[in-house]
């Protein structure tokens, strides 16, 4: 029997206070792919990641990770939050931060053991940060901070990686290093889902793309879904989404087959 899909999102709606951010999103992401979540500002991309991670309450719908609720599968999932979401002046070294990737494991008092330390150092090496291992995190460049976050996720040794804008504000060298890392993960059968902002690089970096603008616009292989028409539908403002909804509604009313 083949393994259930890494991510299934079923009719999920999320609202902050009364303002909806995600509307009735329904999608399945396949295993072993590099997936980009793309859409304009305020489209709910980060919220979708957080919904998968059970970090925001769902107004309706449910999420399955490898066929089970997130809490049963979280050992297999690693999260890379947006770099700006934390205070980098926090008193910690690169190694301290990467070791956090090992805290989710059960253990007496959760003191890191030698094995955890070895995993953390290996992860630091994979993102080429060994020279900065003991450096305070505020004295890193943006790219180095992003690598630190990636190393922390790698230390979790997960099967599904959810990354919120890993390419934001990093130098060209780091961007290439991250791409190489993503490909290596894919080669090992891991699934990586990235919120991504740079439309130009989507076809080069990713296999699968999810176009989002509060509602799901399209989700599928890049060469099928990443078309000018679909992008226009995603970025053409909410008006375009409403138009499509209206068309679909009329089609339904006429009893015509719904366009995919």
């Amino acid at each position: 029997m083949s393994e259930p899909a890494p991510v299934e999102v079923h009719d999920v709606t999320v609202a902050y206070h009364t303002k909806p951010v995600l509307w009735d999103v329904d999608l399945t992401l396949p295993g072993g792919k590099l997936v980009a979540i793309v859409g304009p500002n305020g489209a709910g991309k980060s919220t979708l990641l957080k919904a998968i991670l059970n970090l925001v309450p769902l107004s309706s719908g449910y999420v399955r990770v490898f066929g089970k609720p997130y809490n049963e599968m979280r050992q297999r999932v690693a999260y890379v939050p947006q770099r700006e979401s934390v205070d980098w002046d926090f008193p910690a070294s690169v190694l301290d931060v990467v070791l956090m990737g090992r805290y989710g494991r059960p253990g007496w008092f959760r003191r890191p053991r030698a094995a955890d330390r070895a995993r953390a150092e290996e992860a630091i090496d994979r993102v080429d940060m060994t020279a900065y291992r003991d450096r305070q995190i505020s004295r890193l460049s943006g790219g180095q901070q992003q690598r630190t976050f990636l190393a922390r996720a790698l230390a979790q040794d997960a099967d599904l990686y959810l990354m919120d804008e890993p390419f934001a504000g990093v130098d060209a060298l780091t961007e290439r290093a991250i791409v190489a890392l993503l490909r290596e993960l894919r080669k090992n059968g891991r699934t990586v889902v990235c919120v991504h902002h740079d439309l130009q690089t989507v076809p080069e970096y990713f296999d699968w793309v999810t176009l989002l603008n509060m509602r799901l616009v399209r989700s599928g292989p890049v060469d099928e879904v990443f078309t000018a028409e679909n992008l226009h539908m995603t970025y053409g403002g909410r008006l375009a989404i409403l138009e499509r909804a209206a068309t679909d509604y009329l089609k339904d009313a006429r009893g015509a087959a719904r366009g995919g």
Partner: protein, 427 residues
Amino acid sequence: MIDFFDPTLRNVALGSGVLGVIAGALGCFAVLRRQSLLGDALAHAALPGVCLAFLFGTHMGLDPKQPLLLLGGALVTAWIGTMLVLAMTRTTRIKEDAALGIVLSVFFGAGIVLLTLLQKGGATNQAGLDRFLFGQAASLLPRDIATMAILGGAVLLTLFFYFKDFQVLVFDSAYARSLGLPVRRLEILLTSLIVVAVVVGLQTVGVVLMAALIVAPAAAARQWTDRLGVMVLLASGFGALSGVAGATISATKRRLPTGPTIVLAVSALVLISLLFAPRRGIVWAAFRRVRTRRRVRLENLLKDLWRLGELDSRFDALRAITDLMAVRSALPATMRHARNAGLVAVEGTGIRLTKAGLVRAAAIVRNHRIWELYLSRRLDLADDHLHRDAEEMEHALDSEVMEAIDRALGRPTTDPHGRPIPRGVPA
């Protein structure tokens, strides 16, 4: 003279030291979570609890000054106050600062009313409750200290066991949740520990100034270290030091209120840390700035002398200081600095590069021109932008970086403006 064998004084020092350790350690987490004001609010919110516990004790025929009773009351209202703040920010649109302000003033107001009623009501035994306002370490009895030590020990033990969880919680709580840590419960636990730390200090420091003992040692410790574990230890030490110092002074000198004295002691530590801590300290930063400026001026002087040399190919010729002033201001202090460093020789109204000065000047000019070339080739910057950028970078680039750039450019001989890149010192 201070006599540490005096049992009262020993109590005072011991109690304040214990308190300082607890407040310092927990304060680190309060400060890093940007919840410094929470300590203040919940200290004030403890006052009605003390009064109510006293009333309760009197009515039940207990010893109303039993420390466990009073601290228990303080714990209850401080904890209620804290949970109110959390609930308000979570369920309404009231922001945290406003919620803290509301809780602080409402609870403190209630506490003052109760305190006044108790005193007016002539409760026979009420004397001494007002020490909870500004603190009176001299009133500490051995049983008070035992209570503080037990509570404090429990707090520190919990902190030790949950240290890693609190670390990731404070740094990145969304990530902590993604790991499956019980973030909501950890938050409540951490806040409760801070509540206990505050309540333990009430009798010694008083509700009005207790927040300072939470915030100040942590702020001072942060200046000296970049590691959380070290910061917690340092803050505990600072807390203990200022606690003992402040309480001892207040107990020996005309019975000063202890809270303000401790606060003054810890403020001195904060001041020293802000000024003198390496790297983050104001004095060192200013010192580094001055040193950099001196170096930049020195290098500019050498570079100007080199450029004058390029005009007539006599690099070590004597130049009139007035000529240099036309190029750029040759400051007397800079010339003195350069002469003392053996880089220039001053002869009457003239100045010339020495052997060492020539070497250094050539290196600076080389850096400047290689950097210009690098910018123009690799970044396609317009020629008129090159000079200003190179002017800033030539002082900052280290030799390793320069060597790498030089190699990458294939050891060029001229800069983008066609001027020669010096390779060594002219004979």
